[in-house]
């Protein structure tokens, strides 16, 4: 909301208050100052100067060298490029040191080898509304040497943000009332002319919707002349950024910003009979004065005439044909109180909003409805002539929205930490317009319907008293860690491990595009209906709740590749979303960890091996993440991916592993194979759990035996491991694959065979094994491999 300081000053004395002081005052009253715009000239160093002489600049065709009299006793030489003046004219002259609105300060300069001691100014250069091209020519009687500022009205525009609980501040009078409270200065009295009122009877006004419109007043003014408003009124409106329209409209806009009460003027000639305030018929159409047409519901409120023609959407906007025009002679001036929720619903439904609906939906002062009408009548008669009917017709009555509220000493002390006495708190309430009814009971004024409860009064006291007056206290209590704490700590361990393994943590948006769903790698494949879509997405790019983090990481990979990033090592942790059963069951949120590796294994360099990341790198990262615990990849097809597998830790499935389909990698221009994994965080956290107790170190040495076996190239390594495991040789501690040999040319080894070398480690916990014992155990293992897998030992 815009507030003009000059306008505000008609309500209270603000002299001696600096703008920063007012800014602070409003800020600490809970009114956010979003902008301060100074209008007019703000310096005394721009003075009236008379041009005594102007000669051609010796070194520049477009410049003249002037001698001006700025009332200093001697003439001042100034180089000037303007063409619009005559010698003898009086113009604004900025003296050295003058700060101009453009943010620069005038100094003495040499322009093309000619000294220039100041600047002759155009209106826009000194903060005045732009005028004709060239210098601002001042009246001939302007006093030489006098600050130009004194000849033009200056003003300050305050751009304020008022919180929704304070509709009483949405006017100059309301803001002045608040400032008067804070400054402890009196408010200037408001002169509201007295007028007679009479209950509306029969034909003139009929309210068929009293719940939505408890109070409706109207007064007829005849014989008005619609024309431009007088300058003072135009200036007031222009000062807060409004465009003057005509005297009738301008008066109602003035009243709205003066008192906060919206008014509406109808052209009486366009009405058939009296005014009827009624709900719209279902499907009734209404064309607003902005020419938009709306189909209404029975919840919307119309101001209509007796023929049923809709004149205005009550409290929101006038109709296209009922308003005041240049030919209007008789008007009906409405001032009413509409129930806020109804106005808000209509405004939302129709997407129509106005300064009126903004105030009605927050709640205007019911006791101010008639005062606003009376003041408007006076101003209309003064600016448009004509005569008003003797009485203002009133239908219904002002609703009573406030009631006595208690301010309890004990609760006040408790909440404020004893920082304010009940007497001082009472003084604050009194300044705010409340009246003390009994020891602790206060009557709230009609314009403060937001004060309904004890806490509301405490809030006012705290606000005006200020939190800087309240002591700071800190008391700690012991709080046990929650399961969420435990999960958080485990996640931070995982994050730090991944960063130490050279991965960058990413953060992607949880709303993704349909086109990204093909990259999703959820823990369980999706069924139809499992996806959760927002109803009204901002764009197609953010339409679906992500069922998996991988699509976000793939998109990040693509963006980085476009930026010439080489090695891509990413992870992200967070929630994924799906319906548990094709859209019919519960929406589930679970937490996962996703990883993506692609491109060179490390930074390039003189000593780099230049290897491209492969699936074993990602497998290695996963094992390191689990502190060296083995995982198994158990192949399971996934659409859109190759090499897809379940990630198993022991018998437990903990996630999914895959490479993007090479065709998708090409489509995205990724250039290298992209390996991804998505893991169930809840399970990972459990795997991180600390050990129960340590294993004793072996007391006796063990022995190793190496063996290279030949077998079909297609036999998975897991088969070898499974056979070794099943063989359950008690002396075998570990078996590790340390070499793999294939020869596609078939020269050294048939192309359909591979040679796999394992190192077996044998040890007993209670004795040193003899060579014979080790050999026997080893033989048993090898025999089992031959028997179960048909391998050949070389």
């Amino acid at each position: 909301m815009n507030i003009s300081l000059n306008w505000l000053s008609t309500h209270l004395d603000l002299s001696g208050k600096s703008i920063p002081e007012l800014d602070d005052l409003l800020t600490f009253a809970g009114v956010e100052v979003e902008g301060i715009v100074t209008k007019g000239i703000s310096t005394d160093k721009i003075v009236v100067a008379k041009i005594i002489e102007a000669v051609q600049h010796p070194n520049a065709d477009r410049l003249k060298v002037t001698q001006v009299d700025a009332g200093e006793g001697t003439l001042r030489q100034i180089v000037c490029g303007a063409q619009n003046y005559q010698v003898g004219d009086k113009v604004p002259c900025a003296l050295p040191g003058a700060a101009l609105p453009g943010g620069f300060t005038i100094g003495e300069a040499v322009m093309r080898k000619v000294e220039s001691r100041g600047m002759l100014c155009a209106s826009s250069e000194i903060g005045l509304p732009p005028g004709e091209d060239g210098l601002l020519i001042l009246p001939a009687d302007a006093e030489i040497g006098k600050p130009v500022r004194e000849m033009f009205e200056s003003d300050v525009l305050l751009e304020l943000e008022v919180t929704p609980n304070r509709p009483d501040l949405l006017s100059h009078r309301g803001m002045a009332r608040e400032l008067a409270t804070l400054l402890k200065t009196p408010l200037r009295p408001l002169e509201i002319p007295a007028r007679a009122t009479a209950p509306a009877a029969g034909g003139d006004v009929r309210v068929d919707a009293p719940a939505a419109c408890p109070l409706y007043t109207v007064v007829r003014i005849s014989g008005v002349t619609v024309k431009d408003s007088p300058p003072w009124l135009q200036q007031r409106l222009e000062a807060i950024g409004l465009r003057p329209i005509n005297n009738i409209v301008d008066v109602s806009n003035f009243i709205l910003h003066e008192l906060g009460q919206p008014l509406h003027a109808f052209d009486a000639a366009k009405l058939a009979g009296g005014i009827v305030v009624r709900h719209a018929a279902d499907g009734e159409t209404f064309t607003a004065l902005d020419e938009s047409t709306h189909i209404l519901t029975t919840d919307d409120l119309l101001i209509a005439d007796e023929n049923g023609a809709a004149l205005a959407l009550g409290g929101v906007m006038g109709g296209l044909d009922s308003g005041v025009t240049a030919s209007t002679t008789d008007i009906l001036l409405e001032s009413a109180w509409f129930t806020p929720p109804g106005i808000r619903r209509t405004s939302r439904r129709t997407a129509l909003s106005s300064d009126s609906s903004y105030r009605f939906e927050r709640g205007v002062d019911p006791e101010g409805v008639l005062a606003a009408s009376h003041l408007a009548v006076k101003l209309i008669l003064a600016t448009a002539g004509g005569s008003a009917e003797e009485t203002t017709l009133v239908a219904g009555q002002a609703p009573v929205l406030t009631r006595p509220v208690t301010l309890d000493q004990a609760k006040l002390d408790q909440l404020m930490g004893g920082s304010i006495s009940l007497t001082d708190a009472g003084a604050i309430l009194t300044r705010l317009g409340l009246t003390k009814l009994a020891v602790a009971t206060w009557q709230v004024p009609s314009f403060r319907a937001d004060l309904q409860r004890h806490i509301d009064l405490v809030e006012e006291v705290a606000r005006v008293h200020g939190l800087d007056q309240v002591p700071s206290r800190f008391q700690a209590t012991f709080v046990p860690a929650s399961p969420v704490d435990a999960a958080y700590d485990a996640d931070m361990v995982l994050r730090r491990r991944l960063a130490a393994l050279g991965l960058h943590e990413c953060q992607t948006i949880k709303l993704i595009a349909d086109g990204q769903l093909g990259d999703a790698l959820p823990l369980r494949p999706l069924q139809d209906g499992d996806l959760i879509r927002v109803k009204l997405p901002l764009s197609e790019d953010h339409a679906v709740m992500r069922p998996s983090i991988v699509p976000g990481l793939v998109a990040s990979a693509v963006r980085n590749v476009h930026q010439q990033a080489k090695s891509l090592r990413f992870f992200e942790m967070g929630r994924v979303f799906r319906n548990a059963g094709g859209g019919k069951a519960r929406d589930q949120e679970s937490e996962t960890l996703a990883l993506l590796l692609s491109g060179p294994t490390g930074p390039a360099g003189w000593a780099a091996t230049g290897r491209t990341t492969d699936l074993y790198d990602l497998k290695g990262v996963l094992i390191s993440l689990l502190g060296g615990r083995e995982i198994q990849l158990s192949p399971r097809e996934r659409d859109g991916f190759v090499l897809a597998a379940d990630i198993k830790s022991g018998e437990q499935n903990i996630g999914v592993f895959a490479r993007l389909a090479p065709s998708r990698e090409r489509e995205l221009d990724l250039g290298h194979p992209v390996y991804v994994a998505e893991l169930d965080l809840a399970k990972l956290r459990k795997l991180l759990g600390s050990i129960d107790h340590v294993t004793d170190l072996p007391q006796f040495p063990g022995s190793t035996r190496d063996a290279a076996m030949e077998l079909p190239v297609g036999t998975p390594n897991a088969d070898i491991e499974a056979v070794i495991r099943k063989c359950a040789e008690p002396l075998l501690v570990s078996a590790e694959c340390f070499d793999l040999f294939t020869d596609p040319t078939g020269v050294k080894l048939s192309a359909d065979r591979k040679s796999v070398a394992y190192r077996f480690y044998y040890r007993a916990s209670d004795r040193t094994l003899t060579t014979e014992q080790v050999d026997a155990a080893h033989r048993k293992v090898l025999d089992t491999l031959v028997a179960k897998l048909g391998v050949k030992f070389r």
Binding site: S472, R473, V479, R495, H504, I509, V534
Partner: protein
Amino acid sequence: MNESIGSIQTAALAQIAAATDVRTLDDARVAVLGKKGTLSLAAAGIKEVPPQEKAAFGQLLNAARTAITAALAEKQAALREQADRAALAGIDLTLPARRVPVGSLHPLTLIRDQAIGILRRMGFALADGPEIEDEFHCFDALNTPADHPARNEKDTFYFDSGKLLRTHTSSVQIRTMESQPPPLRIIAPGSAYRRDEIDATHLSAFNQLEGLYVDREVSLPDLKGTLEYFFREMFGTSTEVRFRPHFFPFTEPSFEIDVKLQIKGQTPRWIEVAGCGMVDPAVFESLSQSRKDQAYDPEQVTGFAFGMGLDRLAMIRWGIKDIRLLIENDVRFLKQFA
């Protein structure tokens, strides 16, 4: 005899000096000091030396042995050093490193962890709740009127189910109080969503940190002390903190918190960092109805709540000018946090 010891010594020293590696040096040692070495044989000859010359001969012999042993040790050290140097020939310390990939934590993780760390020291425990929320927990229970603008489909993401993406983490306050009686000291970091077009200062999904303290006699001094301490821990112990009155439906009185910070190259200014307030009694009333008990009787308990935007804190902390950098995951940005 004496002359022969002199010549043995001369020859031995020459052989030691001529040794070029450990093996030839060892040969020289054996040739002189070995069982059949020249000096050992000469020493054996002491039996034939006349008794009156034995002492002088012995001295001569010892002197020769000492000199030869010292020469051997010296040569051995020189050879080791020479071999060590040879082993390092051609190695250039100034060549670039063999780099190991360096990873990083996301700035939001860093700022969240710092904030959580401070608040945990102050006795807050973590809590969480769903991001797909119902209107009750996101709005009704937080004293937000049915026709409040935030509930509009233009401002909030809704689903066909009638649920919505929570617009603030304040819903976790309700979820936690529903299941736990006071006293309660919780913090809830998490995502929240608003239907804002994405630009340099807005994301449709952002990260918040919510806090709630409910007990008997929780007061404005508690709120003030806690949050002043928090922001001074966060931004430096001398940071100025101020509380501006504001309005939120679920707290009263409500405040916005500014801290005075100096961003490099600018004059210090007040920057808004959080919202807070005393829990509105209406929230406790609604809660008492849904809990069907009086654990949160507004006549008995009071509390304060606060919420802050972690994205904003990260932007302030590191001078990040465009919020989109926080979701674009450009490696050139991320690696600065390694």
